[in-house]
């Protein structure tokens, strides 16, 4: 029976080196594109030379990046089966991080959509949702745990068939020196949940393939993304499709922009972020 080993000639160091080097330049359905400008999927209307991140994330996988203030990030649900579980940190002081309670409470709105500021617990805006044609997002249910995925799918390990969001975020965080205690509740994009009058949850699922959300970094950010099924996805099979990520240089929200004055709470969150950046010389 033919095996993978039959495709490789690795009996000497010279052959092993030649074999390894022959693998370069291949393409995969999910991969990072370097330089970012070489992406086969440049976002419409974006100058490819301004791209700083281009990557397709497999279902059950993760991605992460440190981003400059003013970076615009586009997440696209390629097949309609992605769910992007996102955490954001101030890259300069990562104990400042996404605070989901403040994000919904201070905006007086539980459902995420265009214009919603993603707030830290330090009274600043980390990022703004500047574009959204999906409308199916969630700030209440967080991501999946090992315990939940073992119960639902029989396995939760990153190397297995049904990784949990928390285990993937643990790996992504570790690559920036962050530990499990640095994983607060996360938000998720492309799978919706609504709250009933009695507090019960109703699954609204996906808005279909090709939907996209764009975030604008208002501080220098560490961004962590796990692409795994939503924790209350009722489907018995672990269903997780490709997530496309692009980022490019833009500028942070400033006075005169629509989001700056959209709400008094948001305006003060932008003011606090601008004040922080001015003091730090950013």
């Amino acid at each position: 029976m033919a095996t993978v080993a039959d495709q490789h000639e690795t009996d000497t160091v010279g052959n092993a080196r030649a074999d390894a080097r022959a693998q370069g330049g291949k393409a995969a359905a999910a991969m990072a594109y370097r330089p970012a400008s070489s992406t086969p999927y440049p976002p419409p209307g974006v100058d490819a030379d301004t791209l700083t991140w281009a990557e397709t994330v497999a279902g059950g996988n993760y991605a992460h990046k440190v981003l400059a203030r003013g970076t615009r990030v586009r997440l696209e649900d390629v097949t309609g089966e992605a769910c992007a579980h996102v955490l954001a940190y101030n890259a300069l002081e990562p104990w400042e991080r996404l605070n989901v309670a403040d994000t919904v409470k201070i905006s007086w709105q539980a459902y995420l959509g265009t214009g919603h500021p993603l707030l830290s617990g330090d009274g600043r805006v980390l990022a703004t949702i500047v574009s959204d044609d999906s409308g199916r997002h969630d700030a209440l249910c967080g991501t999946s745990s090992a315990r939940a995925n073992q119960a639902r799918y029989g396995d939760s390990a990153p190397q297995g068939p049904s990784p949990s969001g928390r285990e993937l975020l643990t790996l992504a965080a570790a690559k920036h020196g962050l530990a499990p205690r640095d994983l607060p509740p996360s938000i998720s994009f492309f799978k919706g949940v609504r709250v009933e009058p009695d507090g019960g949850l109703t699954w609204t699922g996906s808005a279909g393939p090709g939907k996209a959300v764009e975030l604008l970094a208002e501080l220098p950010l560490i961004l962590l993304i796990a692409n795994v099924p939503h924790p209350v996805d009722p489907r018995p099979a672990y269903t997780s499709g490709l997530l496309r990520v692009h980022a490019w240089r833009s500028r942070p929200t400033a006075p005169g922009d629509a989001w700056w004055d959209a709400a008094p709470e948001a305006r003060r969150a932008y003011l606090n972020a601008a004040d922080y950046c001015a003091a730090r010389g950013l």
């Binding site: 104990w95 400042e96 605070n99 989901v100 309670a101 403040d102 919904v104 409470k105 201070i106 007086w108 709105q109 539980a110 459902y111 707030l119 617990g121 330090d122 009274g123 600043r124 209440l140 249910c141 967080g142 991501t143 745990s145 090992a146 315990r147 939940a148 928390r166 530990a179 499990p180 205690r181 640095d182 994983l183 607060p184 509740p185 996360s186 609504r194 709250v195 009058p197 009695d198 507090g199 019960g200 949850l201 924790p231 209350v232 709470e265 948001a266 003060r268 969150a269 606090n272």
Partner: protein, 243 residues
């Protein structure tokens, strides 16, 4: 001088002079203070009144019951729990919501950890529902919510940080929390906010620890929204153990 007692004749401990802490004249006109008592049978292991605005913490061992009494009514008790053996495992709002399929906390709600494990179960609750969406107030977030004139006001985040520091924890360890006796409805279009409370003097909630838990509480000092009826009052904490 008469000793202050509850109806069972017990006098709770208090870090300050209990007589002063329970003097209605110190609070808004018409304030009624009701110490009530434990919501579970058994030996009382700890019984303490937290003065208005103060933080508090304790370890509740597996199987023990913690009763929280809303002594003055509609006093938000911002609350966090940790696995006492490994505080990297801590309360998780989303695991609790997704695990129970409901955003409100009521009798039977299992308070889950960041690893999806059961930290505690709500075994009795004398208000319609409890909140775990609204998070904690804080010096910084107050500037967003009410304006920069609030800069010198104390908040729950500060109480949490001060109390967590006693256990070697810091900002990384303060996550989204529960709010006992706070009312945060979510409307059909997702609009939500803190509105007038549905608790009252002497109303209680009780949790059974499912593992040894460290609990932190901030007796909320907020004066800019109705989470304390604009009138911060004491809370009573009672730990009981069945024989």
């Amino acid at each position: 001088m008469t000793e202050i007692t509850d109806t069972a004749g017990r006098t709770p401990d208090c870090p300050k002079d209990l007589k002063e802490v329970l003097d209605p004249g110190r609070y808004a006109d018409g304030t009624v203070l009701d110490l009530a008592g434990p919501l579970a049978d058994g030996e009382i292991l700890l019984d303490e009144v937290i003065p208005a605005r103060a933080p508090w913490s304790a370890v509740v061992k597996s199987g023990q019951v913690l009763t929280i009494v809303d002594v003055g009514g509609n006093q938000s008790g911002d609350f966090l729990l940790y696995n006492a053996q490994d505080t990297a495992e801590r309360y998780s709002v989303p695991d609790t919501i997704a695990g129970g399929g409901n955003v409100y906390v009521r009798t039977g709600t299992v308070l889950r950890s960041s690893l999806g494990n059961s930290l505690a179960t709500v075994i009795a609750n004398e208000t319609d529902r409890q909140d775990t969406i609204g998070g904690a107030c804080g010096k910084e977030s107050n500037t967003l919510r009410y304006g920069h004139h609030t800069t010198s006001e104390h908040g729950c985040r500060e109480n949490f940080l001060a109390e967590a520091a006693k256990y070697g924890m810091g900002a990384r360890d303060i996550v989204s929390n529960l709010n006992w006796f706070m009312n945060v409805p979510i409307e059909a279009d997702g609009t939500l906010g803190i509105v007038d409370g549905i608790s009252g003097p002497g109303k209680r909630v009780a949790l059974r620890a499912e593992m040894d838990i460290l609990v932190l509480i901030s007796n909320c000092p907020q004066l800019n929204n109705p989470c304390n009826d604009f009138n911060p009052t004491p809370l009573r904490m009672i730990i009981t153990e069945r024989a």
